[in-house]
Symmetry: C2
Subunit: 191 residues, 2 copies
DNA sequence: CGAGGCCTTGACCGCGGTCAATGCCCGTGG
DNA sequence: CCACGGGCATTGACCGCGGTCAAGGCCTCG
């Protein structure tokens, strides 16, 4: 690869520099790796308990689960977003499969190695706290903006808030994410 | 009140004894108070930024917001549950009003006093971490069990998982929580 | 006893799902 | 290079779930 792995990790840590001091970064580094995977690679599989979380450096991913034999997409992620299973983090099997939508570059975090560090290093504890807290706010928003809204409202909201989803994700996937059928999404787009 | 305030706080801390040592409890205590409020009292109001979170010792509460002029209930809480606004915790205005459904006994937590303690005491940090993490899992479950499900499925799921809701909360409130109209809930109950 | 909450029941209808056919784009092989 | 096949999106016909509107029953409380 042309891009140096160390550069990618440095860039990541730099984003959190005010919060993570050299000590914390030193503890984290052995538990972080740079990885490259092709489109369709599955980072986490349904019913499995993975010991890893990932940061999407370049590329895109989706999370889906099976419902009555069809795939339901629960989220999409792009550059600079964390992807992983919160249930895995809490030692529960994942309900979802996380699959890459494009050839991607990732940072992998060894959760089993990092968790014990939380008890001894407060910066790492607060860092993970923050990632989970932000995800929690995202989930609250998602519930708030979907509950009781019509298909059209959910569609226009997604279009306004995450237009890039429509550029990089097949409409079939977006439909189940919005909780509507392919056909309805098609009709909404036709205006 | 017949019940001693100190007893209630002791009972709460005892639940977390394996995690909270005397040191942590000593730091928390000045920021915790026992309160009694009557039915209909509002703990947190829409658009306000409250500095408090609460543990419901005895009683019941609901959280609701206004949508097109009607109240939409987002959750109900009972004994031994934390109630508060995650958005408030992150210094954002609450979208919801939290109101007591019954005369209640609560522990109030002064968030502005406790947050600084997270930087110096890792037990407190992990304790709050855990509360938010559990809420996050609850939100994931709620999305998973409501997305793409019919009114009947959501109704029977709630009946199975939280039957006490139907004993202590008016049906009108439950309907908007389930994302259906009063009338539909009535018809579902009639079987 | 009357008033107001709260829940139920009935009539109607529109949103959005299913099924099926058709169109479009792209990769692969003859 | 074109032909064919498969994946993805669109369009049309139909219909059922669940919403709205309106009326009626049944509590509780003043």
């Amino acid at each position: 690869m042309l891009v140096d792995s160390a550069d990618i990790m440095d860039a990541f840590f730099e984003r959190y520099r005010p919060k993570l001091t050299e000590t914390a970064i030193g503890l984290l580094t052995p538990n972080v790796k740079v990885l490259h995977y092709p489109k369709k690679h599955e980072l986490i599989k349904t019913n499995q308990t993975s010991g890893y979380a990932y940061l999407l450096v370049k590329g895109a991913a989706r999370s889906y689960y099976l419902h009555n034999g069809t795939e339901i997409n629960s989220w999409f992620a792009f550059e600079n977003e964390m992807v992983g299973s919160l249930r895995n983090y809490n030692n529960l099997p994942s309900r979802e499969t996380i699959e890459l939508l494009e050839d991607s570059t990732l940072l992998s975090f060894n959760v089993n190695g990092i968790k014990p560090l939380m008890a001894e290093n407060i910066e790492i504890s607060n860092f993970i706290n923050q990632v989970i807290g932000e995800y929690c706010l995202y989930l609250e928003d998602k519930l708030f903006y979907t509950h009781l809204r019509s298909a059209r409202e959910r569609y226009t909201a997604l279009l306004a808030q995450e237009p890039n989803v429509f550029k990089r994700v097949p409409l079939t996937y977006i439909a189940s994410f919005l909780g509507i059928s392919r056909e309805t999404l098609s009709r909404l787009r036709a205006k």
